[in-house]
């Protein structure tokens, strides 16, 4: 395969640049048969969860991380994967309303749970305020920031700057220097 010119094979798979057509195809119907599981001691399991208000089902190995299941099997690529060891907070989603790190949760554990990803967070003042205050540049951390903030602000609607910094300490941002993010929350 040359370095140029070969079109990537699967740019049009659901969620890869193009939004998944809602309700069109079954969420887990892959274009190719699922990869065989070599020498795995573990059989796959069927997991059903309410993701962004919609009942979704996926066939997962026990070791499949929730972050990978959301991105690769359900096509919800708004959830970003940074460090995969719980340091960066990029993959934060809400599990039954609580912020959790999708890279430290196995998909098999969320059977029958409610999951909210950035795709399911209703547009609102917080997002507008992020936009107005330039609280993102590359945007990689933004989904995790918003889901962490959404859960935190529900319980603490009027946080001080110090409390906000504490609440966001688990979400790393390498672009903004955080000040615009704090500013955005304060002026939302």
């Amino acid at each position: 395969m040359s370095g140029f010119g070969d079109p990537p094979p699967d740019l049009d798979r659901p969620g890869f640049g193009t939004p998944a057509a809602a309700g069109d195809d079954p969420p887990t119907a892959p274009a190719v048969p699922p990869a065989p599981v070599p020498e795995s001691p573990a059989a796959t399991a069927r997991v059903s969860a309410r993701v962004n208000g919609e009942l979704r089902t996926a066939e997962v190995e026990p070791r499949t991380l929730l972050s990978d299941c959301l991105r690769h099997q359900l096509g919800l690529t708004g959830t970003k994967v940074g460090c995969e060891d719980g340091t960066c907070g990029s993959c934060t989603v809400q599990l039954d309303g609580e912020p959790v790190l999708a890279c430290l949760t196995f998909a098999i554990q969320v059977d029958q749970a409610q999951i909210t990803t950035i795709e399911g967070l209703p547009p609102g003042r917080l997002q507008e305020s992020f936009h107005e205050h330039h609280a993102l540049q590359c945007g990689f951390c933004t989904a995790g920031m918003l889901l962490t903030l959404d859960a935190y602000l529900r319980e603490h609607p009027e946080p001080t700057d110090a409390q906000l910094k504490e609440a966001l300490a688990g979400n790393l941002c390498r672009c903004t220097g955080y000040a615009p993010i704090i500013e955005a929350v304060r002026n939302r």
């Binding site: 573990a42 026990p62 890279c103 688990g170």
Partner: protein, 250 residues
């Protein structure tokens, strides 16, 4: 990275958990320490026994607080019952981040036995007792194979007690280089400290001195004598001093 393949067994009772534990199995509680190790393949268990289905309760009976091992750290942080032991919340604020505390369990912190665990330091100052599937012990238990931590018990605080938890960490939410947990009441003083990679322990000399009317600086210096090295000693002296001041020592 991704974890190596493993077999997954979910259980809903301690008996079933013990029965499911094979030689090469790991217990999956909140997973906030275990899953990073699995993701980096530093651990490759053949089986994970998921104990998240075992209900964990926070109860207070006869003044004694009982915390089930599978209680989430976030649940303990919010618990109205546990408010009578404010040191728990003071320490939990420093345990990871909101997103790790909503999965991480109280029992997991103890069983994982990282020497820099804030929660264990607080429990040590609170005279916690630990109930496992096999025995009841006074200090944090060293679990045998197929032994599981079931419950943590805290005696009531003495009347008029004030508590404080202070730590020094390079970044917020990271494990601390040094920490002090303090309980002060009339005729009662408890100090637990950790530093320099050694697990939390009480500072009996400093506690005795406080009961005999020692100043903050004297007590902090006595607590610092427990650790080796100039820097760790300076850190322990300072976090102990701050904790004693926060707990209202004159």
């Amino acid at each position: 990275m991704k974890p190596a393949p493993f077999e997954y067994v979910a259980v809903d009772s301690w008996e079933a958990a013990v029965a499911a534990l094979t030689d090469d199995a790991q217990v999956l509680a909140g997973g906030q320490s275990l899953v990073p190790l699995l993701n980096r393949r530093l651990l490759r268990p053949t089986r994970l026994v998921d104990i998240n289905g075992i209900p964990g309760l926070i109860r207070r009976t006869d003044g004694v607080l009982r915390i089930g091992a599978t209680v989430r750290q976030a649940a303990l942080e919010r618990s109205v019952v546990a408010e009578h032991w404010p040191l728990l919340r003071q320490a939990l604020r420093h345990v990871g981040h909101p997103a790790t505390r909503s999965r991480g369990t109280v029992g997991g912190s103890v069983a994982h036995a990282d020497p820099r665990a804030e929660l264990v330091c607080a429990l040590t100052a609170l005279d916690a007792r630990y109930e496992t599937t096999e025995r009841v012990v006074e200090g944090p238990p060293v679990l045998a194979p197929r032994e599981l931590l079931v419950r943590i018990e805290l005696p009531p605080l003495p009347p008029g007690a004030h508590t404080a938890f202070v730590e020094h960490a390079r970044t917020r939410g990271d494990f601390a280089d040094a920490a002090a947990a303090v309980v002060l009441a009339p005729h009662h003083a408890a100090i637990a400290i950790f530093a320099a990679g050694r697990a939390a322990r009480r500072a009996p000399a400093a506690e005795r001195a406080l009961r005999d009317g020692a100043t903050v600086a004297e007590a902090a210096a006595l607590a610092a004598e427990l650790v080796d090295g100039d820097h760790p000693r300076a850190l322990v002296a300072e976090v102990t001093r701050r904790a004693l001041v926060q707990a209202g020592h004159a």
